[in-house]
């Protein structure tokens, strides 16, 4: 299915167009699931994604498409974030568990990073604070822009950029520490 412009899909989705909703779902599903699986187990993550879409369908009337406000993806991941937090609260725990082993999708053929480098990055990433990890996950796992991440977190885009810069500096430092230890 060729992706349509998100704004067109959203307009159709407001009119309860099933195809538009399915297209939005299929497009956001991998990122939503990857984001949820960072904090929940596989079943919980799938449930969280389904609940996210259910809330989106129920509340699409509240969504306002304002330029620079993060768009539909930012709104959708904001919902998913709350759903995940609710699920964590219901499970009696909060924050990150150990990084899942199944999220390493490094293709050695790409040559960008080696398996060892990817493992070092994940270990360094685990040393970041919850807020930093969440921000970077939204940026790199969910693939959101700074504006969309800001919308999901309920913050300003400038603040998100600054926080992202600080988080990457920490990650870089932790990565050097991890590589120094491993070396």
């Amino acid at each position: 299915m060729a992706f349509e412009d998100s704004s067109d899909l959203v307009v159709r989705a407001r009119g309860a167009d099933r195809d538009a909703w399915e297209a939005l779902y299929r497009r956001a599903y991998p990122r939503l699931l990857a984001y949820a699986m960072r904090r929940l187990d596989a079943d919980g993550a799938r449930d969280a994604v389904s609940e996210t879409m259910a809330r989106a369908v129920a509340n699409i009337g509240r969504y306002r498409q304002v330029p620079g406000s993060g768009g539909f993806d930012g709104w959708l991941f904001g919902i998913c974030r709350h759903v995940v937090l609710d699920a964590q609260r219901a499970a009696g725990r909060r924050g990150y568990g150990p990084p899942p082993d199944t999220v390493s999708h490094v293709d050695p053929a790409e040559g960008l990073v080696s398996a060892e480098e990817a493992d070092a990055v994940r270990r360094a990433f685990a040393l970041l604070s919850d807020d930093d990890r969440e921000l970077l996950e939204l940026r790199v796992v969910a693939g959101l822009s700074a504006e969309e991440t800001a919308a999901a977190l309920g913050r300003r885009a400038g603040a998100v950029r600054m926080a992202q810069s600080r988080a990457l500096s920490k990650l870089r430092r932790f990565l050097s520490e991890v590589e120094g230890v491993s070396a």
């Binding site: 909703w21 779902y25 990055v121």
Partner: protein, 296 residues
């Protein structure tokens, strides 16, 4: 190791990136479709939960229960029921008297009490009788049939009570006599008020009297009593009508001046009363006797 933020983000994305083949299952997509249909109102609407209507339903049932019980109790016991409740009760088909009929019954009851009271308070009786006539006159045919007998009886009793006391035989008729047949009971009352009384009596009582035995005798008698004076008065008591009767009536008119006058004035009721008692040429005298005996 990269140093620029964008490169580091790419490395991080590669290390933490999502599985490329992750897709929603068929069941998840179907569930989404159902959600969309439900939100759009196309799907089977969720039925209104019972708890949402339980409270107003309970209130409505309680109201109906209280209303029905109160109305039924009032209908059975004959207790006084507020008019709005009575109207509503009739509207829902409960066996309750109409407000007009209830008012007429109440007026007759008050009149009965006043007639039973000793000593008689003529002013109160006059007012209550007039009120009862008005109310009975406003009733529908069905409702009137329910109270007609009682109204006839009580109004005749009231007319007799209001009639001037009988004088001695052969005594000249009182000055108010011309008006008394028309004015019926309130003979001593002011002449100006009597035509009004007559009219008031004639109107509501005309119909019942017409149905009564004496009615066909005196439409004219009633009218005369209401409009004219003097000689024609004798025709009031002499409901059967001959001149001889009139004379006879006149002789007895002294006796009947009050009662016979009441017969004429309250033609409808009195006529009914006299007819019960036999009427005829002796109607004048018997009319007076009837007037007394009726209540008795």
């Amino acid at each position: 190791m990269t140093t620029r933020d964008d490169e580091l983000l790419d490395v991080l994305a590669t290390s933490l990136g999502p599985a490329p083949d992750a897709e929603p299952t068929w069941a998840e997509v179907s569930q989404l479709h159902r959600l969309v249909d439900t939100a759009a109102g196309r799907g089977p609407r969720a039925r209104t939960p019972l708890w949402r209507i339980r409270r107003p339903l309970t209130a409505a049932l309680a109201g109906v229960l209280v209303f029905g019980t109160a109305s039924a109790a009032a209908a059975l016991s004959g207790a006084v029921m507020p008019q709005p409740v009575r109207v509503a009760a009739r509207a829902v088909g409960l066996p309750v008297d109409s407000p007009d009929l209830a008012g007429a019954r109440a007026a007759l009851a008050r009149l009965r009490d006043a007639l039973d009271h000793r000593p008689l308070e003529l002013g109160a009786i006059r007012a209550l009788a007039q009120d009862a006539r008005d109310r009975v006159g406003r009733l529908s045919a069905d409702d009137r049939a329910d109270v007609e007998a009682e109204a006839t009886f009580l109004l005749a009793q009231a007319d007799n009570a209001l009639a001037p006391p009988p004088g001695p035989l052969g005594a000249p008729p009182p000055e108010t006599r011309p008006a008394s047949p028309s004015g019926a009971a309130p003979a001593p009352a002011s002449p100006s008020a009597e035509p009004a009384d007559d009219g008031g009596r004639d109107q509501p009582t005309a119909n019942p009297n017409q149905s009564g035995p004496g009615s066909d005798d005196h439409p004219s008698g009633d009218d005369q009593s209401g409009s004219s004076a003097g000689p024609s008065q004798s025709s009031g008591p002499g409901s059967s009508g001959s001149s001889g009767d009139n004379q006879t009536a006149t002789t007895q008119h002294v006796d009947n001046s009050g009662h016979g006058g009441s017969d004429g004035g309250g033609s409808s009721h009195d006529g009914g009363g006299s007819s019960h008692n036999g009427g005829g040429s002796a109607g004048g005298s018997s009319g007076s006797g009837d007037g007394h005996s009726g209540p008795g």
